[in-house]
Symmetry: C2
Subunit: 389 residues, 2 copies
């Protein structure tokens, strides 16, 4: 998914230029990366609309297109949406609020990450890059900057720096600068060197719900009026960060939620995610489905056909990504589950920091400039993000 | 050890009021907590003096007393100090610079932490507090704010919060607010709840070197002219953060160093530190002693009589401590090995945040006020610290 609706001006700048680049790849370069602007529809209670309005004002003042819908509009456009919760006993138990309106972002949408990765891979090979598959970077090599040849170095009185990586097949790759872009595994690589990866990781889950042709869920899936594809937008429900993604070509929905307190951080996540962090059917049944069926009653009785888990990695200080350099490294991460939608801009920041250090202006796609040091830690200067998913 | 010589104005404010309180306890309340202002003597090369001078100017502008010594002064006051390194082969190998001068802080010094802890313990009991020894807080209890009684809660749609701690003896202590002040073990308690402890921990080591009566090292130990106790001050050598602490009553020195890159972070440190992180004689011999004997040749041939390891825990974002509240918790930590010297002020901040939340002015000892939210993460506003030890 991608969106330009962020409360942080930094996130908006990074995402906006990235979305423009992806759209350029899809439309102008004619490379299919699955860009499909289905829109984000943030369904909110009266209370949420009120606490969010200054954020939305700020988005509009900064060029982010936002459409405001009232409860009546939503009732007409989405017949399957239950606006009123107060009279339902289960909803009262869950403290669910009535839907009073929504903010809609038409520049937001979905893309195909595997196609996008293939596009970058091919461009990288065109530039003369080299790729290795089937070998993990197991650890960073730390060397004395001026070696003495004495056993046990680097010593306290030596400057030392990262000089490359050791691979799982026993090989080594040495480099003047090593870029670490390892997501949830950043700490596993950096902690042994005593350099902070500034990222925390936890498990997240997705569940698919079929929307068979002719069913009420299929009608919900193909709700018209929001986007050129004629589907329901990506929905954010007013409780628990429950999200609903239409997958029209597969005749199904993908649904998930946003755990906060009571979902553990994983210091060093295992690589085999499926085996070590199996998705929990009880989480769908007891946590997600009650919210889902309350706001979208067509989901009543709908169980998940497939489910999977993944890792969500973020910078918990301000929920913004970081790029920092030093000790032979450039490290990028902390993108809070919204990495793909800032990926092109962050790639340009990494490139600029690699060439010129953190004190440099980066030209993003479309020509806007961004000061790299804002994303570092020596002179970090970013606006905290409040709209997480 | 305690010092008021920090590059960060926030650290100076927190430490200054704390030192004043400890001095008040020692002098006015007549409780012996071992306060002994032996001073900190930061020995520096020409280059270091130059890059530090703006920090020292700022300290003096803010009321921190600093005495500046030139190389000639130091040579006269400390006959055992080798100012010149350039002509020594071993020093050239280690890239050691000549000592060109020093900054001396007469308000800095040492105290007896076990006596200080006893003082606070007794005051706490006087106030009606209760203490439990011999039982560890093993984990935090997370409860739904409004319980339903359903198996498996808290669910995604419930608000949940920390409601107390589980003890190693199987007991539970429930509380409206739980204060976590767990140092290097903060992550072990907080990670399972998905709340970031914002701290990283690594091993640090100390080594004792005897200074037998009549020896050259004893003469160094009892160097006059710096403090009322007639001992050498606490020394910071110009390389590797090597520190030398005089322990005159035990006729020995304590020495250590500051590891940076190439000393691993420990995600969840083991409790039995001695068994799991044994001190390394090779670290003394190959890392600390070469620097020590170069600047203080009386240490030549002096091996450690005892050695031990401990854990150093800090906030790697800005090297400043934090106090934050939320989800039933108040968390204090990240004090970067200088916790004791800010302890009284941080205790007052915790007390104020517990009573009034982060948006409150805290009265420190002596009457100065400090805004608690500066140490939180929602509105963090602190000056990064550059003088770490």
């Amino acid at each position: 998914m991608f969106r330009n609706m962020f409360t942080s001006g930094d996130n908006r700048e990074l995402a906006n230029a990235t979305i423009d680049f992806y759209t350029h790849v899809q439309r102008d370069m004619k490379v299919d990366i699955g860009v499909d602007p289905i829109g984000y529809l943030w369904l909110m209670s009266e209370r949420q609309l009120s606490t969010s309005s200054h954020h939305v004002d700020s988005m509009e003042e900064n060029g982010v297109q936002v459409v405001r819908y009232g409860a009546r509009d939503l009732g007409e456009m989405i017949p399957g949406l239950a606006l009123n919760q107060a009279e339902k006993e289960e909803s009262r138990l869950m403290n669910l609020e009535d839907v009073a309106g929504a903010y809609f972002g038409p520049k937001c949408g979905r893309l195909a990450p595997e196609k996008l990765a293939r596009f970058y891979k091919e461009r990288f090979l065109d530039l003369g890059g080299d790729l290795i598959f089937g070998a993990d970077a197991k650890s960073l090599i730390v060397d004395a900057t001026v070696p003495t040849g004495l056993e046990g170095e680097p010593f306290l009185w030596q400057d030392s720096r990262v000089a490359g990586v050791r691979l799982s097949d026993g090989g080594e790759i040495r480099a003047a600068t090593t870029v670490v872009a390892a997501g949830a595994w950043t700490n596993e690589l950096l902690d042994p060197t005593g350099i902070d990866g500034h990222a925390k990781s936890k498990m997240r889950q997705l569940f698919t719900v079929p929307a068979q042709s002719g069913s009420a869920l299929a009608r919900l899936l193909h709700t018209k009026g929001f986007n050129p594809s004629g589907t329901i937008p990506f929905l954010i429900l007013p409780k628990g960060g429950v999200i609903v993604k239409p997958m029209s070509e597969q005749a199904e929905f993908w649904v998930g939620g946003e755990d906060e307190v009571n979902r553990q951080f994983l210091a060093y996540p295992e690589e085999d995610i499926d085996a070590n962090y199996p998705p929990e059917r009880a989480y769908y049944e007891m946590s997600i489905h009650p919210v889902l069926r309350a706001y979208l009653p067509d989901f009543a009785g709908a169980g998940p056909s497939r489910m999977w888990s993944g890792l969500y990695s973020y910078n918990t200080v301000d929920n913004l990504p970081y790029v920092f350099e030093g000790d032979g490294l450039v490290v990028v991460g902390g993108d809070s589950g919204s990495g793909v939608m800032k990926g092109d801009s962050l790639g340009r920041v990494v490139d600029a920091v690699y060439r010129n250090g953190e004190e440099t202006e980066v030209e993003l796609f479309g020509g806007a400039t961004y000061r790299a040091s804002k994303l570092g830690f020596r002179k970090r200067d970013v606006e905290r993000e409040d709209w997480l998913l």
